[in-house]
């Protein structure tokens, strides 16, 4: 309690200070506050959080005065909510920076986030829902010598919970050719090329292995935009980087990402192909999970927002994966047989992900044997099938007051790779989602979400209904229930529950201007939360949740 008081005191004092500054000068202060608290009523949560509650909170303050910007973020986890790493326990200001933009040169000291290209060799970001934060701490320079030429460099340590550790150095250059050459004709293809190098250093002292101290990765990228077409690609290469991820093998890593899109009014095609081989890149070779990651290759599968479609989410396997994601969307015009009065949108998406093919180096060496080159991999050969997601989504507006969408999805999910729960086979599932919104009048709206997941694997079938009632502009009420009814010997998972299980939630919230407060009570199923291919396991829990957010 004392710590919470300290925290609020801190918020008050710092706001006052900054506010005082604001009145004297013409600087701009901005920021936000988020407090998520939970009071747990179930025994499992209480055993893991003996305090009985968890609180995640942070507040960002950014102050800008002309060319100068400074900011900090206070964070508090006392203790962290269920499902967040308890290494976050504590409070402090892990993120603070000063930045100055002097004409073409901009420099930042302290903490910053950065991404080179698609993030295959460097991506530093934070995702609060995942409890993921690999902020850099050091110095960063951005230089824009001529129009269309952007150079960046950094020298930094990495955040790992409350510590900063590791050593990362990087440079990145990008030339937007049209801008650099002063071409202003928009009819011509718009070209840009870029390249980046990132290297890390860790003491190579080791009794058994000859380890590299400096490990570098390089990447080159290009993109061309022409009318509705957009084609971009990035190739990344990493030299020998023996680490816990690859069982201390010395194979070079490589990654290739190609994006192609075409869009015109009412029609769009999107195609991504990706291949990763040994592309975990961390500033600490012994780290695992999400610690010390320097890079973060983009995920190739479609990310789902509906609760049951996101039940078996895809996670990027940087050790090796190859896949394809494609999506076609089309809008049937108004007043056509399929379009109806308001038009109909159809969206078809397919993602397929495979392991890369791995062959042993020779007859004596096991695949991935420590202290070897690991394996040979044919660039184009497919390995085991891991993931398929095929879905069709229809969006239809029936009247001015009523609209809805229907999604049908088929998924194959190799749980030996993704480890959602304790089931170790492929999960085949069919998921149906109907989402309907009815506007009663200008202030009142009802939304009904019906979802169903059919599978004979893992925990079996699920059904879910959610009703949301909104009274604009201040109030909203939500109630939902997720039902697991799949067991009874109907699945091949002998550990599946032989009873109907309800996971319900009641919540309401109040919003006024930039402040929002929400209170809920519910029972949460265990599951995995993913964002951008990075996932976090959340255990089941039951209790009261309070969430306050504010922006300023």
């Amino acid at each position: 309690m004392k710590q919470i008081l300290t925290f609020f005191l801190f918020v008050v004092v710092s706001t006052t200070l900054v506010y005082a500054q604001e009145t004297n000068t013409k600087g701009i202060l901005s920021g936000n506050l988020q407090v998520d608290g939970a009071y747990y009523t179930d025994s499992l949560s209480q055993s893991q959080r003996p305090e009985g509650f968890g609180i995640n909170s942070y507040a960002n303050f950014n102050y800008n005065y002309g060319k100068f910007t400074a900011g900090l973020r206070f964070e508090l986890y006392q203790p962290p909510l269920m499902g967040y790493d308890t290494k976050y326990q504590g409070m402090g200001i892990p993120y603070k920076y000063l930045s100055y933009k002097a004409d073409e040169l901009e420099f930042t000291v302290g903490n910053f986030y950065e991404q080179y290209g698609s993030g295959m060799i460097l991506r530093s970001y934070e995702e609060k829902t995942l409890g993921y934060d690999n902020a850099l701490e050091g110095v960063q320079l951005k230089y824009n010598p001529f129009k269309g030429v952007y150079l960046k460099g950094l020298f930094a340590r990495q955040r790992n919970f409350w510590d900063y550790d590791g050593l990362v150095r990087g440079i990145d250059g990008e030339i937007v050719i049209n801008d650099a050459l002063g071409i202003e004709n928009t009819e011509l293809p718009y070209l840009s090329i870029g390249g980046s190098f990132v290297s890390k250093y860790q003491d190579p002292q080791n009794t058994t292995l000859n380890l590299p101290g400096n490990v570098a990765a390089g990447a080159g990228r290009a993109s061309v935009v022409y009318k509705g077409f957009n084609l971009s690609g990035e190739y990344a290469y990493k030299i020998n980087d023996p680490s816990a991820d690859n069982n201390y093998t010395y194979k070079n890593g490589q990654g290739l990402l190609i994006n192609a899109t075409y869009s015109t009014k009412g029609f769009g095609v999107y195609l991504t192909a990706k291949r990763l081989d040994n592309m975990y890149f961390r500033s600490n070779r012994n780290a695992s999970a999400t610690s010390y990651l320097i890079n973060n290759p983009p995920a190739i599968a479609q990310e789902h927002t509906y609760s049951l479609s996101a039940m078996y989410p895809f996670a990027t396997q940087a050790n090796g994966e190859m896949g394809l994601q494609s999506q076609v969307s089309y809008k049937f015009k108004k007043n056509t047989p399929l379009g109806g009065k308001y038009g109909t949108k159809i969206n078809v998406s397919l993602s397929k992900v495979y392991d890369i093919r791995r062959d042993s180096l020779d007859e004596y060496t096991a695949i991935g044997e420590k202290g070897t080159l690991g394996y040979n991999s044919n660039f184009f050969a497919l390995g085991d099938h891991w993931y398929t997601d095929f879905n069709i989504k229809l969006d239809k507006k029936f009247s001015n007051n009523f609209k809805g969408s229907l999604t049908q999805m088929y998924q194959e999910f190799d749980n030996n790779i993704f480890h959602v729960g304790g089931y170790h086979h492929v999960i085949y599932s069919h998921i149906t989602v109907a989402d309907m919104t009815y506007k009663i009048n200008n202030n009142n709206a009802v939304r009904l979400e019906l979802q169903h997941l059919y599978t004979k694997n893992d925990k079996g079938n699920w059904a879910m209904a959610m009703l949301e009632y909104t009274v604009s502009p201040h109030w909203f009420f939500v109630v939902w229930d997720q039902v697991n009814y799949g067991g009874f010997g109907n699945t091949d998972n002998i550990e599946a529950f032989d009873e109907i299980e309800h996971f319900y939630n009641f919540s309401f919230g109040y919003t006024k201007k930039a402040n929002r407060i929400q209170l809920s009570y519910g029972k949460q199923r265990e599951g995995v939360v993913c964002a951008g291919g990075v996932c976090r396991y959340v255990p089941a829990y039951e209790g009261f949740m309070l969430s306050i957010s504010s922006t300023f």
Binding site: P145, F146, V149, L151, R169, I171, G173, I175, A180, G195, F197, S199, P204, N206, T207, T208, L209, N210, L211, P212, G213, N214, V215, A216, G218, I239, N240, P242, Y250, Y364, G371, T372
Partner: protein, 488 residues
């Protein structure tokens, strides 16, 4: 111009980055070195071998711990047995047998295999300080009925080795008289055991051994030397030796119990009874030694009633230096503080039980022969783990079955006329505190051989009832590391 400068900058940055990275070439594993045994070979013409050369060679080699010696006697000689093997080595390596040339792991010096006498020490120093990634071990024994030496040789490589290698076994013989000098370790036979195209990291290969030795009349003189050679330059990568008579070191910790006693000490038979009980119960692992020593001198004094004198200088030294104040009392492997190692006899068993299940740090094998009153013993000591302090070796002569008088307060009358005195310490064979076993440290798995010659006092002792005890002990703490006994 500006594009040129950007290009230039990019190239500079890119090359700085790329060159600052550590590209690791194979092998990725750091080599794990093991201790090297060097094979030193003297090459000579059998009919023309020079005694001073031979002695110099042996002296040069004996200064190094981990070296084996072999004598390659070429030429047509019946004495050295089948010397065709020697001839083939000599011709293969084109060595002039008329010079006094030696080889140390068959490393070339100035392109030649034979090393001149003046360079022997340097060449051996160089060879024995080289590291090796090969472990060689011979595990064989003599089958008495068939007169074959059977077993296996294990080659283990701690790191990858891509060159072709050959495993060869040499049978060598001691006491070969050649040109009127007695030569040891003379090459008589060679057996090619195996060829290996390459070794991978941690690869081990086992080769079966079956060597017919029926043509030799004294197998105690035979030993086996196994070498692993590099097939392209003949260099010896590792060597190992086993005597045919078969030295097997065990890690069993033997325990010496020194019982301080006196023939006039009436309580002392209780300790004798205890030690007999323990010896019967635990057998060879418990080695008793009765030391007739009383600090006051009374219990061991020689009187008209007790005319036999069991007192010795060595008993005095052992007893007075480590805390004996009265009788009966004893030391158990001399565990305890530097100057007081005494333990009362009722507690000997506890101490023994505490020690007996420990793995010994060293193993001792005694090969002793008594020829009338001449004792000649070869003692082999192997360190199972590295011993970092000075280790000393000492030998004792004990006599059993001495029938003499003894005071016993439990007897009536208290004087027993025909008491049997056993394990009585008679003498040390190498001084009051023995001698240094080897240099410090005593490397793990290395074997030291010590030769002892001692004249037994036929007039005072019954030489038929003697036992030789060898102890090796830590000079810093005086604690006994290992003890072994053998009846003479």
């Amino acid at each position: 111009m500006k594009y040129l400068s950007i290009t230039f900058l990019t190239i500079v940055f890119a090359s700085i980055f790329w060159t600052s990275c550590d590209k690791i070439e194979e092998p990725y594993f750091k080599p794990v070195y093991t201790e090297r045994i060097t094979l030193s070979e003297l090459v000579a013409d059998a009919s023309n071998i020079d005694e001073s050369n031979y002695n110099d060679f042996i002296n040069t080699c004996s200064a190094y711990n981990n070296t084996l010696t072999m004598l390659i006697l070429s030429g047509n000689t019946d004495i050295a047995g089948n010397s065709s093997e020697a001839n083939s080595i000599v011709s293969m390596l084109s060595i002039n047998t008329q010079d006094s040339l030696a080889m140390f792991d068959r490393k070339t010096v100035n392109g030649l295999y034979g090393v001149q006498k003046s360079f022997w020490n340097d060449a051996l120093n160089n060879a024995s300080s080289q590291q090796t990634i090969f472990n060689l071990s011979i595990d064989g024994s003599l089958n008495q009925s068939t007169q074959t030496f059977a077993g296996e040789v294990e080659v283990r490589c701690t790191n990858g080795y891509q060159t072709e290698t050959k495993l060869t076994l040499y049978v060598v013989r001691d006491s070969v008289v050649c040109n009127n000098i007695v030569c040891n370790n003379v090459l008589t036979e060679a057996h090619e055991l195996a060829n290996f195209s390459e070794f991978r990291r941690e690869q081990s290969e086992t080769v079966d051994l079956n060597i017919d030795l029926s043509e030799y009349n004294n197998l105690d003189l035979i030993s086996m030397i196994v070498v692993l050679t590099n097939n392209s330059n003949y260099e010896i990568l590792q060597a190992s030796e086993q005597f045919v008579s078969g030295i097997t070191f065990t890690r069993t910790q033997n325990v010496l119990i020194e019982d301080f006693t006196g023939h006039l000490c009436g309580s002392c038979p209780r300790a004798h009874e205890e030690i007999t009980r323990l010896h019967d119960l635990y057998g060879h692992q418990l080695i008793p030694m009765a030391i007739h020593y009383d600090p006051s001198g009374y219990f061991t004094s020689v009187t008209a009633d007790y005319p036999d004198d069991f007192r010795t200088e060595i008993a005095n030294e052992i007893g007075s230096s480590m805390g004996v104040q009265f009788n009966p009392i004893g030391y158990v492997n001399r565990i305890g503080s530097y100057s007081d190692k005494t333990i009362d006899f009722p507690f000997w068993e506890n101490k023994f039980l505490e020690l007996k299940n420990k793995e010994a740090k060293a193993g001792v094998v005694i090969d002793a022969i008594r020829n009338s009153n001449l004792l000649s013993a070869s003692v082999y000591v192997k360190a199972f783990e590295q011993l970092d302090t000075l280790v000393k070796i000492q030998g004792f002569i004990l006599e059993d079955g001495i029938i003499s008088k003894q005071t016993d307060y439990n007897a009536y009358p208290t004087d027993i006329e025909d008491y049997e005195h056993n394990h009585v310490l008679r003498a040390s064979i190498n001084g009051l505190w023995g001698e240094d076993l080897t240099e410090v440290p005593f490397a793990q798995n290395s074997i030291v051989q010590k030769e002892f010659n001692f004249t037994l006092d036929q007039n005072k002792w019954n030489v038929e009832n003697l036992t030789l005890i060898i102890i090796i002990y830590n000079d810093l703490t005086r604690e006994i590391i290992q003890v072994e006994s053998v009846k003479l």
